[in-house]
């Protein structure tokens, strides 16, 4: 079953109304969307389509921009990697945020040097995640207090990231060396075991593999890698012209 990009399960009715009407351009709805972002951060829901609408309002009305909300939206987008959401958000940010000129830091008029720095920090994280360098992601996250500040508003950020990383691991692997997975998830010892056994429902075999054993991931649709033969799908429509010709030119 597919899920449309603009669909969000937990979207309240009043947000839905704004999104489907012209009020999505009304600067007065900015606060409504901002509150909605705060709510998403608190109760771990996510609505990219609504967040993009808010970024669009900021794009049209730069004076309304709230840096904190912008970064919160980006952090929320990180939690659904490897989807394109993070990039889609970047596309709506003012171009100079991503392209700081050498003088911008000495320019108080630009006024958004902190935002620019924050966005670049988050972009670094996004790049590491997109390149599946999960160890690098955790190391970078721990390397600077600014990161902690940025993700502070997003309730359960680390756990959301772990679940997401586990999902991508489950896609590609049937067995993973425990030490590798530990570094991907930044979890060790009992915490690690609890996570993979209880939350992921995976197994642990301590007898094989290197020290610590291997984590067993049950077969799913993505990691079975089965041979398939794609057969041609023939539709009657393809023959409609032939059939028509047969009637037009009786032998």
């Amino acid at each position: 079953m597919g899920i449309a990009f603009d669909f969000a399960q937990d979207r309240p009715e009043h947000i839905n109304e704004i999104l489907n009407g012209l009020d999505r351009y009304n600067p007065e709805t900015t606060t409504v969307f901002q509150d909605y972002v705060t709510q998403q951060c608190e109760d771990r829901t996510y609505d990219c389509y609504a967040n993009l609408a808010l970024l669009k309002l900021y794009q049209f009305n730069p004076h309304l921009t709230r840096d904190e909300t912008t970064t919160n939206i980006l952090v929320k987008a990180l939690t659904v990697f490897p989807s394109p959401d993070f990039s889609l958000c970047l596309h709506l940010l003012p171009p100079h945020i991503l392209h700081p000129s050498s003088t911008s830091s000495s320019l108080p008029a630009a006024g958004d040097a902190p935002l620019s720095e924050a966005v670049q920090k988050l972009t670094t994280l996004n790049t590491l995640l997109s390149q599946a360098d999960y160890r690098g992601f955790w190391n970078t996250l721990d390397s600077d207090d600014l990161y902690a500040d940025l993700v502070a508003d997003v309730n359960g950020f680390e756990e959301l990231m772990r679940v997401r990383i586990a999902v991508t691991a489950g896609q590609s692997c049937r067995e993973v060396d425990r030490r590798v997975l530990e570094s991907w998830l930044q979890l060790h010892g009992q915490e690690f075991e609890r996570f993979i056994l209880e939350i992921c429902g995976w197994g642990l075999d301590e007898t094989t593999g290197g020290p610590g054993g291997v984590v067993l991931i049950p077969v799913n649709k993505e990691n079975e890698a089965k041979e398939t033969v794609v057969r041609e799908n023939v539709k009657f429509d393809q023959f409609s012209r032939i059939v028509k010709r047969a009637y037009e030119q009786p032998a």
Binding site: M1, G2, A4, F5, D6, L22, Y25, C48, Y49, L52, K56, Q59, F60, P62, P82, P84, S87, L88, H91, L92, P94, P95, H96, L98, H99, S101, T103, S104, L107, A109, A110, T123, T127, S130, Q131, A132, T168, Q171, S172, C173, R174, E175, V176, V180, G209, E222, E224, A225, K226, E227, T228, V229, V230, R231, E232, V234, Q238, F239, I242, R245
Partner: protein, 478 residues
């Protein structure tokens, strides 16, 4: 909103624009309409705007001008005047007492006017941004600075949304989908061809504007009520048909739905190649450039998402971008400049919705650079996928450390590449419903799973395709 504001100097330039219209045929049309059409009282409102001469001729000139490109070297004054011309025209169409009776110059007029309106908006925004970047102290910059609302984003969107709402076109299209009579919901305005066509093409116009502003999901959402097929209304105007598919395909590409993007580009390019003999030359020339751009975009999408293309497209792509395509498909750092070059040559001319900052010229980045940079991030993240795939194709099982040795990279790095390639092979692909709908499918013929350091590789084999061959030979026997 700025739609209702009018600058004082519209007359002289409107006159000048009119004189640009020396085309014999349109002159004849104007005369023709002069005899036929009697304007009602709604004109008195407009007469104040175009304060010169007889109303009828002015109106026709205004209609014709609205659908005619400005001269390449048009001055800033002409651009401002053109904006005012659009404002007064749309104001008249939208805000008179009840629907207005206008005989439009041609069937294509509604498309041409929306197309030209957005084109002028686009080029004005780009021009303004360029002036702010390169010569922020010029007189022109001062004029631009003093008129921040001219060609404002809100007023352009306001026009398009108003035309859509007045004509009830979305309601009409929704009803048509259910095979019911659109006139039942069209209302006083929407029953008239003028409003219907303007409303319809405004939807396509919105698609384009959203795309130019970098809002790709909203661009696709805009087309919810339009069914993309040859029976669609836009298919009757070649340029509209073409534009629609270009922007839909591009938006899909930016959402990383490469299979859908390829489907869109292929559809329209096949259509163009089959109909090019019937196209009038002038019309065909105008789409040649966009045609090449779409081939470039297909080349990019195919590099991301190797797939079997339609024969016609494949041959043409080899002809136009043979070398480049091979290099793109090989991936790696060598391909990066090529991705950049092709993207730059084929992307829409992105704009920024707000006036630039004339006081800080260095922070006015060209929006094209902005979107390109974001796109290139994704290219960089996935640039090793072709390398990985080319090796995996050769084996049924493979040891990760051994493969890392072949590729001369750290095993953990390779593990990352394998994860990335796997993630990117899962793509959302449209199946039914709105353009934003879709199912996650495996778009790659190569699949694999890691068991510790052992990579199990499987391939999806494609069975023989017989229908095309059968149909071709059958056609020959007739």
């Amino acid at each position: 909103m700025a739609l209702y504001q009018r600058a004082p100097y519209s007359t002289a330039d409107a006159q000048q624009l009119m004189e640009d219209e020396s085309d014999q045929e349109e002159e004849a049309l104007v005369n023709d309409y002069k005899e036929q059409v009697q304007f009602d009282d709604g004109m008195s409102d407009l007469a104040q705007v175009t304060s010169g001469g007889g109303g009828v001729q002015d109106m026709q000139a205004q209609l014709a001008a609205a659908a005619t490109p400005l001269e390449y070297q048009a001055t800033l004054e002409t651009k401002f005047a053109s904006y005012d011309n659009y404002c007064s025209l749309f104001h008249y169409i939208l805000n008179s007492d009840g629907p207005v009776d206008l005989e439009v110059p041609s069937y294509y007029w509604a498309w041409d006017v929306i197309d030209e309106f957005i084109y002028q908006f686009e080029s004005f925004c780009r021009y303004r941004n360029r002036v702010a970047r390169t010569s922020p102290t010029d007189d022109e910059a001062q004029v631009l600075r003093d008129n921040p609302n001219t060609w404002g984003c809100y007023s352009v969107l306001n026009v398009l949304y108003s035309l859509i709402q007045r004509s009830q076109i979305n309601e009409q299209l929704a009803v048509m989908k259910r095979n019911e009579d659109p006139m039942s919901v069209a209302g006083e305005y929407g029953t008239r061809p003028l409003y219907r066509m303007l409303g319809y093409f405004s939807i396509i116009g919105l698609l384009r504007v959203h795309c130019l502003l970098g809002d790709f999901s909203l661009a696709l959402k805009t087309l919810d009520d339009i069914e993309l097929n040859k029976k669609a209304m836009f298919a009757r105007v070649m340029a509209a048909h073409f534009t629609t598919y270009y922007y839909v395909g591009f938006s899909y590409m930016m959402m990383r739905r490469y299979a859908d993007a390829i489907r869109m580009f292929s559809h329209i390019l096949v259509y163009v190649s089959r109909t090019k003999n019937f196209q009038k030359n002038a019309q065909y020339d105008s789409i040649t450039k966009k045609n090449d751009q779409m081939y470039a975009l297909i080349a990019i999408c195919v590099a991301f998402n190797p797939t079997k293309l339609d024969d016609t497209i494949h041959t043409a792509l080899r002809e136009k971008y043979g070398d480049q395509l091979t290099r793109l498909q090989r991936g790696g750092p060598d391909a990066l400049p090529l991705f950049e070059e092709l993207f730059r040559s084929a992307c829409p001319k992105f704009i920024s919705p707000t006036p630039p900052d004339f006081d800080n010229p260095e922070i006015n980045v060209d929006p094209v650079d902005h979107h390109l940079a974001i796109f290139m991030e994704e290219v960089k993240n996935t640039m090793w996928s072709p390398t990985v795939k080319s090796y995996l194709k050769l084996y049924a099982t493979m040891d990760l450390k051994k493969l890392a040795g072949f590729l001369e990279v750290e095993p953990e790095k390779l593990r990352g590449w394998l994860l990335v390639n796997k993630q990117r092979s899962r793509q959302v692909r449209w199946n039914e419903g709105g353009l934003l709908d879709g199912d996650v499918v495996n778009t790659n013929d190569l699949d694999y799973a890691m068991q510790g350091d052992l990579i199990h590789i499987s391939e999806a084999k494609v069975g023989r395709r017989l229908v095309d061959w059968y149909l071709r030979n059958l056609a020959r026997t007739y």
